[in-house]
Symmetry: C2
Subunit: 116 residues, 2 copies
Amino acid sequence: MQDLIKTMKALSDETRLRILNVLLERECCVCEVMQALDISQSRASRNLGILEDAGFLTAKRDGAWIVYSVDWQTANRYATPLAKLLRDSLDSSEVIAQDKERLKHAVRMGPTALGK
Amino acid sequence: MQDLIKTMKALSDETRLRILNVLLERECCVCEVMQALDISQSRASRNLGILEDAGFLTAKRDGAWIVYSVDWQTANRYATPLAKLLRDSLDSSEVIAQDKERLKHAVRMGPTALGK
DNA sequence: AGAATATATGCGGATATGCGAATATTCGCC
DNA sequence: GGCGAATATTCGCATATCCGCATATATTCT
């Protein structure tokens, strides 16, 4: 029961719904999420952690970055029925459209940002 | 989007999940919910109101009482996929079993409690 | 109308939540 | 090892949430 509450709380926040929406487009590292949503680093990291803890996301390290993606494996029982709901509710939102637009130009920053 | 957040917040509370569970058994007035969950009157009333505001419940007056029931009509898009999740998560909980047991003996109290 | 019951609501306090700013940690490269 | 970049975490504050208590409103019966 506490798990279900944790799950619902994870979805009770605008920032986290926006993050989930972006990650449904494609997997992202933290800095890409920051760019897409135009939010601070700590805010992105903290909310990604909450979604991960709730089981919606998995994190895998890729060099300097930590890449988050929707965990369809373990969160499928929640994500599947909810994904459609999210889509339906979110697509009509203006913020969401802006997030997706920014995501197109979001880039991974390093490493050392010298090779560019 | 704010509607979705309101919906998720409504489900992010143990008291409200317990209420929902009881109302999935059968419709109840406030005093029956108090008895089933063994909680205060204001607590029952307030949380029923929150669930109603989120669209999960409808309230109809029946004499002295106000009877709440799950609103499958308007909340169906949330309730249908979620009902199973709720069931799966809740049935394993001890509190939930107790609620259901108490519900069996819950009675409407009035009116005037003299006709009995 | 008046008494009693059922429900809703205002208020104050305790706790939880979300955020930015600053700091700590981890990794890759020289 | 040392530096810079990416991410995580701590801290303090503002706000939101939840509850009990008391009170207000609505309804029924006499």
